[in-house]
Symmetry: C2
């Protein structure tokens, strides 16, 4: 087999490969991450590369993704281009997966004094006592005598009974195997680390001396796009550090469906599993090093993610989730040793995964319900978590119903030529007044594209300025030189080539607007269907919590203006940021919170929208700005 060398610019990473593999696969081997929404199907046009040296032919079907100029300048789709020469290729800005603005909570819990430890962040969050899922207790044991010669482990559990409320303890075999020397060489002073399983205290580790100060855990949000890890001091409940990174699974597809297709059909499960494990290990390692914490002293992890991500995390086949009737392997995950999936904390450390409800309503939403506290009070509230999937929960302390709708990648910057994720250079805020466009980018640098919140602003401003009609078509009667025809379609120019970092215009087309309207329509239809299903109207929702990847810079009135979010008093709408991570941390630091999450998962009724007839009507009615029923959006000002 012929061998070729491929060098990827601008990082100058080189890899030697056999012929007959694609540039996207070569990038994977080189450790270079290229955007790929569709998982290598040639459908999304995200993995564009520019061939600088060597011969490479763009696949015929891929040509439609490029302008004539781009094709002349050597642009190809990485997934559709076989390597048949030694190549030097450049990864354009848009195709790079770079350090993004990752949604992380900024604020730590405020803990009270040890006597009355409570978790408390803001008004909406429920209060739980500090009672971590793994505990570490220092014991000074009485020395055995002939009158008191119970076994070594009974001597330990006799003391543990005094300081904990377990009726029974069980001990792992490794803990027992060298216990005798440990107790005696440390003069009967030991520190015991124990978790809880099935109501029994599970002794994980017995260390000589007093190590109870070194007691750490990780809260992990396993997002489809981003993985965020918090390092928590389990003695105090305080957040020590937080780090996030791109989900390395992106090389197997940008959305969960593409990754499932890779895991189940095109490739295999193992690399997808290993990618997210690498994420967690990298982040945990960096956090530990930065904060002078030993990975050995981390003995507990709670991870929250959607059902598919949870399956990937645990290396469980997700292959029946994708197809009707959408069945996951499990919704309640077993307590395992973190080492069983290759996470490099203390080998006796445990991993708990936030329970899911159904295939498309995951542990992230359960964690979100936990975090906002809506399941604890009689007032009826609503949680909307918008990502590639929009997940909706309505309920109170007596009932909870939820549903999920595929919003598509539009709000995460996919499906549009200039769409991008909320990272440096993304246009996040837009205003158009009297034909004048003003915008703001993340990082206050030259724009590279438009992220989700920017797209919402853009749609809102276009319709407010009468540049598009309420059904999303351009109003060609309005005079503006920003509306041009390119590659056979009308496009509205948001930023001219001289304004942008790429030197190419940033614009939006009619079909891209149509995609966004479909996305917002799906989310709103899901909310409306669920509200109708439970026999309520929007006015009866005491609070709407908005969470998710674009929530941090979302303009709520504009989101209402395009009909994404119900039109209620904006004072009753709260951002709760990364509620999945908050919920994971709550479960990590408080057994009552973790138990609450299991109760939430059991209590919540999932409405399968694909099986719920009114949803399609609601969806069609929502394909309008803001909605075909203007009465639903009384506050929207541009309505004529």
């Amino acid at each position: 087999m012929t061998k070729y060398t491929v060098t990827f610019l601008p990082d100058n990473k080189t890899v030697d490969i056999d012929s007959n593999i694609t540039l996207l696969e070569a990038a994977g081997k080189a450790g270079v991450i290229i955007n790929s929404l569709c998982g290598g199907d040639g459908l999304c046009g995200e993995c564009r590369l520019q061939v600088k040296k060597g011969k490479a032919m763009a696949d015929k079907n891929a040509i439609s993704f490029f302008s004539k100029d781009e094709i002349e300048h050597g642009y190809v789709l990485a997934c559709r281009t076989k390597v048949e020469d030694n190549l030097v290729v450049n990864i354009p800005l848009k195709s790079r997966v770079e350090q993004e603005k990752i949604l992380m909570e900024g604020t730590a819990f405020a803990y009270g004094e040890p006597e009355k430890l409570v978790l408390h962040r803001s008004s909406h969050e429920p209060v739980f006592s500090l009672d971590p899922i793994v505990k570490k207790v220092y014991l000074e044991l009485p020395v055995p005598t002939l009158e008191d010669n119970i076994s070594d482990i009974d001597r330990i559990t006799r003391e543990l009974h005094k300081v904990s409320n377990y009726d029974k303890f069980e001990t792992s075999l490794p803990c027992l195997q060298n216990l005798t020397e440990k107790l005696r060489s440390h003069h009967w002073k030991v520190t015991v680390t124990f978790a809880r399983r099935n109501g029994v205290g599970r002794i994980l580790q017995i260390e000589g001396g007093d190590t109870s100060d070194k007691h750490y855990g990780l809260a992990v949000d396993v997002g489809t796009t981003t993985v965020v890890v918090q390092l928590i001091n389990l003695k105090t409940g305080k957040i020590i550090g937080v780090k996030g990174s791109h989900n390395l699974q992106v090389r197997y597809g940008e959305d969960v469906v593409s990754r499932m297709i890779f895991a189940c059909i095109r490739g295999s499960l193992a690399p997808v599993h290993q990618a997210v494990i690498a994420n967690i290990n990298n982040l945990a390692h960096a956090l530990a090093e930065e904060n002078h914490v030993s990975l050995q002293d981390i003995t507990a992890i709670v991870a929250a993610g959607n059902t598919i991500m949870s399956h990937f995390l645990l290396n469980m086949t997700p292959c029946s989730i994708r197809l009707e009737p959408y069945v996951p392997t499990t919704t309640v995950y077993p307590q395992i040793f973190a080492r069983e999936v290759g996470i490099a904390i203390n080998p006796e450390g445990i991993l708990e995964v936030s329970p899911s409800i159904a295939s498309y309503v995951g542990g992230d939403i359960v964690a979100g319900v936990l975090a906002c506290g809506m399941a604890d009070k009689p007032e009826i509230r609503c949680l909307i978590d918008i990502g590639t999937n929009g997940e909706i929960v309505i309920g109170n302390n007596e009932w909870l119903v939820c549903c999920s709708a595929s919003a598509g990648p539009a709000f995460e910057g996919g499906g549009a030529r200039n769409g991008m994720r909320a990272t440096g250079g993304a246009i996040e805020k837009i205003e158009i007044n009297d034909g004048q466009v003003s915008y703001q980018t993340i990082g206050k640098i030259k724009p590279r594209g438009i992220c989700g919140s920017g797209l919402i602003d853009l749609i809102y401003e276009l319709v407010r300025n009468n540049l598009i009609e309420q059904h999303g078509k351009f109003n060609e009667s309005v005079k503006t030189n920003r509306l041009i025809k390119a590659d056979g379609e009308l496009r509205y120019i948001l930023a001219y080539p001289d304004e942008t970092e790429t030197g190419q215009a940033i614009s939006i087309s009619e079909s891209e607007i149509a995609n966004l309207i479909k996305s917002k329509g799906a989310v709103f239809a899901a909310i409306k269907s669920l509200v109708d299903y439970v026999g309520l109207n929007f006015a009866q929702l005491e609070t709407i919590y908005v969470a998710g990847g674009f929530g941090s810079s979302l303009n709520i009135p504009k989101a209402i203006g395009i009909g994404l979010i119900p039109d209620i008093d904006t004072k009753r709408i709260q951002f709760i940021g990364n509620s999945s991570l908050t919920g994971a941390r709550m479960s990590l630091t408080s057994i009552p919170a973790f138990e609450n999450s299991l109760k939430i998962a059991r209590r919540m009724t999932n409405i399968e929208l694909s099986n719920y007839a009114p949803f399609m009507n609601e969806f069609i009615a929502a394909l309008f700005l803001p909605h075909t029923d203007a009465g639903l959006f009384p506050s929207v000002k541009y309505l004529r």
Copy 2:
């Protein structure tokens, strides 16, 4: 370092070794097992070898174990002889650890019809339902639909709830990881194997199709001398096969104390642990092959052994058991995967170990109490299990007390020049009438030595014939040509050189008789102390059960005659054979029985005799044949 070759006869096994190791160590490397009571301390004189070629010097301290003739013929102690030449050595019959008559139950449980399955063997055994600790259930699951799309594992447990009485199930991660394909490729027909832990059903294995017929377990008696394994059909409860072999740990010492010294001081724990694992694997493999059972279909083991053997089995340091205040690591052993200790059954198969009471009252005695049913009824009964340790239990369904006394190796054939274990060629029955000696050997072959039951008979016959006094000294006034002086001591000749296989006389000396009296004295003193402790007398014991390594051929009246067993009506004394193995099998095949063993262990009060003042007085009073208080043995006929 110089290299030498040592060949061991008669098996002709050769090993190349470095200099500076002993012949005993060389034998270990060659896989040749040589008797060693003291674990290589040069104290027991059991590891005698005859050097046939090459030069080897007997250690000066070892000379006392040999006659002049033997030294001239090249006899050495393997443990005291460094290899400093190429050698050919012969292992004399007495030093060989050969296939012995291993105590195994002959009878199977008689099971009733499936509707009312009971375990029943004989009148004394309690009745338990067939309810094995690991179950295998075939399920035909309904195919999921949009209306019924619960997770795959919930679909399984929903059916399991209908056929079992667990409120909750937990599933191992490996079971979940490939569950999706398994269910679908087998058209929703699967067989689930599950155990019980902490009241929760623990799913161990999910197989495609109906494999519920292939459902096996092992009951294991981990004896100090012998390891016995029974293969059980867990669907029917029937015994399929049974095999026993020498405990391979014998190379590290014949008794538990020597093995602890090897594990903790002289050598290390690992080889002692691995030896008993090799025993179990060899026996399981042989049983499986012979009965056309796959090791993969064995998913449960219950093992019973003394506390030290249980520690060795689980690779737990036994080092504090040996020294005052005699503390074990644990008395209740965790349910583990058999693979965790290297036992090669199904990798998801579990191992349970019968719970112990204290360092010197082990799971074998708990299994014995379970097997004889004494803990279930109001009548007060006594269990005497005699091995290297004598273990005594008295009690009923309301109370149980136990104790343990070091009987020494006398009844297992140790500590006497012609003592041997109950194997082929051992004299097991003796009568002396009018100076005429008659005996019977195991296997009806030429005698090689005397085993425990033979020694009891011998002592009884010697005192009955007035050949020894009641304090154990030879009565030199009785005329017999069998009483001779050899190597400075009086010896009674039981078999002349021409009668024996070795061509050397089989005899007993005064000091060896003194040892036996000490052993029987310790056992009886323990029984008497315990009976006194609970404020009873022997007449109040409804039944005495006798179990242990020499029980199969024990002459009860003679055992009473020497004062080993209390003098009650022999109709009230029952042999129950290997009660440890019976109890292990009961626990394997019946959860109620296993739970009963845990209750027995919790209920039983251990009296530490080394800490109990009256014991020493009882011991001294028992150093007489049958006892200094003749009133305790009214039926003994030779009493004058």
